[in-house]
Assembly symmetry: C2
């Protein structure tokens, strides 16, 4: 895993992934007590940064391998990213989703061109289903974060942040990243190391699911006690990845932790001041910038909004938090 | 009023106004039956395209004139655009607003650095107040649309649309523009005439407030019977401008008309599929593309989302429309 892989991924996704801007708003600066710059990956295709990694991974496959199709386990943003990236490569995708996944997510994934295979969380193993389908059809598994080409794709976000920060004259700043398994955070960390060494990637996580912050503190991989029961579910994973953790450990941190209420309020501020839609997990970095100001140093802070796939009822709850 | 003024405005606003992208989403293409490209000016500074015209007008003033300050009549997007543009030019702005304007709009305009002067709609004339303040302090009036440099600033939106459409290989398409007094529509019309002559600007308006569509049809300026009582209030004006109408008449049309319900549904689709926040008046062009498909020709359609300054209650109503 190195910067050359990220640059190669950037070349492959150019013209396919959206080149998102850095947004800002004086009202947010006032709350944060410093300038806040927002990288709105909710505006990315399929509504999250996951499309970058999926497209990077698909485009790196040998064409005859890619032609046999790909498979992913996900009920969320990674599923949509893989489905859309596969369709753009004119190949097929199988997405293995739990049968109790929200109907809208299943419908969206199908509409993006994927074959959705449902499994019963209680009685079936998604890995067994995946292994069987992969063996039968020669499908390639696209992992959500512990996969070099996926990390390289997410890292292109960091190249763009570095380019824009340099253009703005920002030499030193924390770059707060919504963090699950660490694919986006580690990719951004590598990109910043190469192109904007005064910028430091820091993971943001929801309270009670701060496996990455704890792992960075202890120096070894720590697990979450549970992986559900928080509105930021899109960024909750059991533990940092085997590939991502060494990068996180070398380049990123310390972590920032926010509450569900703070994530909701950050969503409302993104609505009011930036006119973009953030999902709860996608708002934790902005929440940290707005409400954890004494844990951040410097005149500028950069945050990712990692996704915007939120249902109307949850969004209405966020608007009520103001 | 000519293309050179628009190019000069583009040079002046470069690095100050945001260069917004063209967004798209396969789900919207499916509804519309053609490719839909969205110019999200809700992502512009102050949440609407109005910042472009305000900044262009302020930056065109002779420095000693600009230093005395500017004045505008507006309770909405133009007010915020002028206030922010004045602050960026380190000069003062006076915004004359009705005393019954929403508290949030008054607060926002003040927070952007303006002096807000309230007047009583029933008993006072805002023009008299404006004339008195202008005479006393030497303020320059920035009109919302019937002002060459404002039209030039709004026209920069059209230069960007032309550039992106050319890069995408779109040679012929309707460009549907949310239309009030016609500043944005006429500016875009002029820019397209020069840089993308196969593209045609067409105004979109709310039902019952279709003064521009009727004016284009009759060939002379027609008035709205009333100027309130519609959720698309941000784009409702008494009639097309004296400067904008000849341009609209020569280059733009025919108009498209949408209902309030269609505007709300378009806001919900922008939320779900684009992850951007549109205000009702800012969603009429997208509504036309989605729900007036038989009045549009071609494989591609381009629409503006002109603004995103909507209060949470109205946005919740839009989400309920799905």
């Amino acid at each position: 895993m190195n910067i050359e892989m990220i640059r190669a991924a950037a070349d492959r996704i150019a013209g396919h992934a959206r080149r998102t801007p850095l947004l800002n708003a004086p009202f947010l600066d006032k709350i944060a007590g410093r300038r806040v710059w927002i990288k709105p990956e909710c505006l990315q295709h399929t509504g999250s940064f996951k499309f970058r990694g999926a497209y990077a991974a698909l485009s790196a496959l040998e064409p005859t391998v890619r032609a046999r199709g790909v498979i992913a386990f996900s009920s969320g943003n990674h599923a949509q990213g893989v489905a859309h990236a596969a369709a753009l490569h004119s190949t097929s995708s199988v997405i293995v989703m739990p049968s109790d996944a929200p109907a809208l997510k299943i419908a969206n994934t199908k509409a993006l061109g994927a074959e959705v295979v449902l499994y019963d969380r209680a009685g079936e193993s998604r890995e067994e289903i995946g292994d069987r389908l992969s063996a039968e059809r020669g499908l390639t598994l696209i992992r959500p974060y512990d996969e070099p080409e996926v990390i390289a794709g997410q890292g292109t976000t960091g190249l763009e942040i570095a380019e824009d920060a340099n253009a703005l004259g920002i030499r030193e700043a924390d770059v707060i990243v919504c963090c699950g398994g660490g694919g986006l955070t580690s990719g951004i960390g590598l990109a910043l190391e190469a192109d904007a060494p005064g910028l430091r990637a820091r993971p943001a996580e929801p309270e009670g699911f701060n496996d990455v912050a704890r792992s960075l503190q202890s120096g070894r991989i720590e697990r979450n006690a549970r992986t559900s029961g928080n509105i930021c579910d899109a960024i909750i994973t059991p533990q940092p990845g085997d590939l991502t953790f060494p990068i996180l450990s070398r380049l990123c941190g310390p972590g920032l932790i926010v509450s569900e209420d703070e994530a909701l309020r950050a969503m409302a501020h993104a609505f009011l001041r930036l006119k973009v839609v953030a999902e709860p997990g996608g708002a934790v970095a902005l929440a940290a910038a707005l409400f954890r100001t004494d844990e951040i140093v410097g005149d500028d802070v950069i945050v990712t909004i990692s996704g915007g796939n939120v249902d109307p009822a949850m969004f209405a709850r966020a608007l009520d938090s103001l």
